[in-house]
Symmetry: C4
Subunit: 200 residues, 4 copies
Amino acid sequence: MTALAEAGRALAAEAARYAGMGWMRGTSGNLSVVLDRDPLRLAVTASGLDKGELTETDVVEVDAEGGAVSGGVPSAEAGLHARIAAISGAGAVVHVHALAPVLAAQRWPGGVPLRDLEMLKGFGRAAHDDLVTVPVIDNGQDMRVLGEAFQRGYRADTPALIVARHGIYVWGADLREARHRLECLEWLLRFTLGTILDGS
Amino acid sequence: MTALAEAGRALAAEAARYAGMGWMRGTSGNLSVVLDRDPLRLAVTASGLDKGELTETDVVEVDAEGGAVSGGVPSAEAGLHARIAAISGAGAVVHVHALAPVLAAQRWPGGVPLRDLEMLKGFGRAAHDDLVTVPVIDNGQDMRVLGEAFQRGYRADTPALIVARHGIYVWGADLREARHRLECLEWLLRFTLGTILDGS
Amino acid sequence: MTALAEAGRALAAEAARYAGMGWMRGTSGNLSVVLDRDPLRLAVTASGLDKGELTETDVVEVDAEGGAVSGGVPSAEAGLHARIAAISGAGAVVHVHALAPVLAAQRWPGGVPLRDLEMLKGFGRAAHDDLVTVPVIDNGQDMRVLGEAFQRGYRADTPALIVARHGIYVWGADLREARHRLECLEWLLRFTLGTILDGS
Amino acid sequence: MTALAEAGRALAAEAARYAGMGWMRGTSGNLSVVLDRDPLRLAVTASGLDKGELTETDVVEVDAEGGAVSGGVPSAEAGLHARIAAISGAGAVVHVHALAPVLAAQRWPGGVPLRDLEMLKGFGRAAHDDLVTVPVIDNGQDMRVLGEAFQRGYRADTPALIVARHGIYVWGADLREARHRLECLEWLLRFTLGTILDGS
């Protein structure tokens, strides 16, 4: 099996998992893994398909600008995946449309503050005395503009980016680490929204 | 396999999926696909059955008024399905009792406004500078009255209709497109309700 | 297979379904079907077991007072099941600990009003101009006291009873009708609670 | 099969169940069962693994201080598991990151009061006239400090401990009793939070 097909299989399994959680409704969201570093090559889920029904061939190889290297239609957002992978050194980037991050970005448009919560350890940070601010950038369709906004706010210790009124990106060494970080961060954002709701 | 049986099988699979999402509780909701255009014929899920347990024979062929063509008891709402298919040209119409649309209609009885949200692309609209108003009509038992209300508010670029204190209709070229649009719209309505709850 | 074993199998399948919905957490809730009318005999789920793991033998036959007829430990609530079956003529009674009914009873301790909602049809009532008041009674451990309270508020057209700070009973001709009514009523109660939350 | 492997199998099955409920997101949470009393030995889930994918070998034997007895990396929280088992006499301790307990601790930092609720019976208490206060302690990384705080607030009739901004511990004679108590308590906490949300 080629590296691209192997990546496609892993991406399909991961996408089905997220679809089952309701985080990839319709055909929304996209996932990627890095195939090569020099030059940068990523395997990205193909565009416009049901994320619960991908197969190993529903994957496109893209370059550092998110352009298709050898056929297929990558997600328009492949360019942002590539930028994130290039800047952060991540091996996998996941972009899903979970609800809590988008609600949190609406509430804290300048960045979502999280602090003194055990689950921050699952996001790679400390459980105490370590203010984490999840960056929020404006939505847009030009991935170079989003990429610039991402890069301006990038901190190596904060492996996530919320795109306002859109969704969230989280990254890690591989798909599993990215998922664990995403799951913990999504929990943290639900907690933070919940403390507002109950007035505490 | 006849076209009706094939439609019945597709409708049963789709209904089981929605039932699993909690959008067809009890025997609520109904789904249809267009079998013929001239004259208009639809395959509609049979009335009064558990939507998680339909088989390929739990389907009725109806005409443009929603009347049964060859036996079986169609849903009373078949007439609205047919009207929507006739006016919009859709190949599939889904009607489910998801909670968010009905809550949103309660909050915005004159139509639910949505704007500047990425998920609108999954509903067939633009992510920016494109005000989408999801029409809301009063509930009732006379499908001709509902059909007239639908038609008065119909816009070709807005493939959804909320019936207040009842449920939602969404349509598309086929069951999959209708589902993708429904999933995205339901997400958008939960987001919109959520922004009110957290006061942002 | 005896009638009791057959009932046990049906009750186990139904309980597993409710457990999967989160409506029978811990060992909470109990389900029954009528085996005989004269004298009244019911098959009730056995007490203290995980409702997601019942087998066809985890069932007890009880009389009109909820006493075991032939061995086994019935739920203490069997007496209320029997009373409901006797008064209403229902063939199946389900008692689950869904959250929305208990929250609704907290908000409307004198009975939960529902009106002008399509889902009321799935509860056996009209979608328009038909005020449904779901009775609420105080919780207690003496099933005769609860049974008296049920009987005082009983109306043949309202097949449900909420026990405050406890759970809900719904009944019907058989387990499926009881489930369909319960699913629709639970939806209605979530809707009603939701309209308060969003201030509409 | 050794006792440790048997425990590992039971812990893996239980962890997968909690992961499916969303209570062990990322690699969060840990479960234990007592292997021996004199001296105290527990089997604890291994650290840093996906709780939905454990196998029978992903388990570590620890002593009364939570130190590994024969290889493997136990969760840092093993020391608190051991302390709870020692003090309470429980045969199983489960620690999960369900959301409701952490939200409730935020709202009631001095302990979460619960009273006059049927589900308290599933937590081992009375349904009436029995005020239950679920202890809340501050989060921290030193398990001896947490253990002291636990012990100061310990009451034999209250088999749970919430660690603020972190998660919940619940214990019982075995994994099943611990689960039943946890499920009932989580329901009670959602109910209590819900009554605040709807203003009743």
